[in-house]
């Protein structure tokens, strides 16, 4: 496929700078932490055993390093699933992801997420969509920042 054959994607480039405020609180459960740990090959006891987590200084079982994606992706749906975004989810592949943890996530946390559309660029029939999810706890204190870049392929790709 040559670039000249690529057609523009349907992604809306005018939403850069838009923020999507949290509509619901995400309660972190020990069960979800255990599921994510099992699905990512982590058998560390601090994911499933409260005593093991407390021995490391945590109040309850602690989440694996990529757990925040569960919270962030739910919040990102407010943008991605919005018809105005122009994003065809089946044509999305992940290009980049980065987690900055301001503190570890533990069971019992009540998290709220604001999603920011940081950049949308399009070249050769592929749109690169960069979002930033700012996750805070019920006191409003920062918990994690999740930066994600999705590649959305147009029909010609």
């Amino acid at each position: 496929m040559t670039d000249s054959a690529a057609r523009p994607t349907s992604v809306n480039t005018t939403l850069v700078g838009r923020s999507f405020s949290p509509t619901e609180t995400y309660p972190v459960s020990a069960v979800k932490i255990a599921e994510m740990a099992a699905a990512t090959g982590s058998a560390h006891p601090a994911h499933t055993d409260r005593d093991a987590a407390r021995a490391l200084g945590y109040d309850d079982v602690v989440a694996p390093p990529t757990f925040a994606v569960v919270v962030a992706q739910r919040a990102e749906q407010a943008y991605i699933a919005d018809p105005e975004s122009g994003i065809d989810f089946s044509r999305v592949v992940h290009a980049e992801e980065r987690f900055t943890h301001h503190r570890p996530i533990v069971a019992g946390d009540l998290l709220r997420t604001t999603v920011h559309v940081d950049a949308v660029t399009e070249r050769a029939g592929i749109a690169m969509v960069s979002t930033r999810a700012e996750i805070v706890d019920d006191d409003g204190a920062p918990v994690a920042t999740v930066r994600s870049t999705l590649a959305v392929r147009g029909e010609g790709r």
Binding site: K32, E35, M36, A37, A38, A39, T40, G41, S42, A43, H44, A46, H47, L56, Y58, V62, A63, P64, P65, T66, V69, V70, Q73, R74, F89, S90, R91, V92, V93, H94, A95, E96, E97, R98, F99, T100, H101, P104, R147, R153, R157
Partner: protein, 136 residues
């Protein structure tokens, strides 16, 4: 940490990636994009078959880091670029090999930057994969 030197290899871990893992990851994460379980949909959108969630790959690589660190909450920052999708056959499976090396040391902050390589079926699937780990 004082005994570590930039360039030291810290760990190598091999994971088996199959369709069952992708379904498990979909359920755990809530990412139900059909390209991660439905061959027909994956091919209709131009892929070579069902592919692993990039986030599943990133999560597996993280497990190798936390196993070495001994504390799942010690990862302060973790970023990757997804370079190539992992096509997961059915029947069959793919081996994902994750290696971590010391990329940088900051004794004052008490952190190690672990630089990761991840290869599946001989192909590099993550680039610029770096985890900043607290060591005290």
């Amino acid at each position: 940490m004082s005994e570590l030197t930039v360039g030291d290899e810290l760990f190598t871990r091999t994971f088996t990636v199959d369709r069952a893992l992708l379904v498990r990851y979909a359920g755990a994460s809530g990412d139900f994009n059909p390209i991660h379980y439905n061959e027909r949909v994956a091919r209709e959108v131009g892929l070579d078959g069902v592919i692993a969630h990039g986030m599943a790959t990133m999560g597996l690589a993280a497990a190798a880091v936390t196993e070495w660190a001994g504390d799942p909450g010690a990862v302060l920052d973790y970023g990757v670029r997804f370079t190539r999708p992992i096509v997961v056959p059915d029947p069959g499976e793919v081996e994902l090999e994750v290696t971590g090396k010391v990329g940088a040391l900051d004794p004052e902050a008490g952190t190690v930057r672990v630089d990761l390589t991840a290869r599946a079926a001989g192909v590099t699937v993550l680039a610029k994969a770096q985890a900043l780990v607290r060591t005290r």
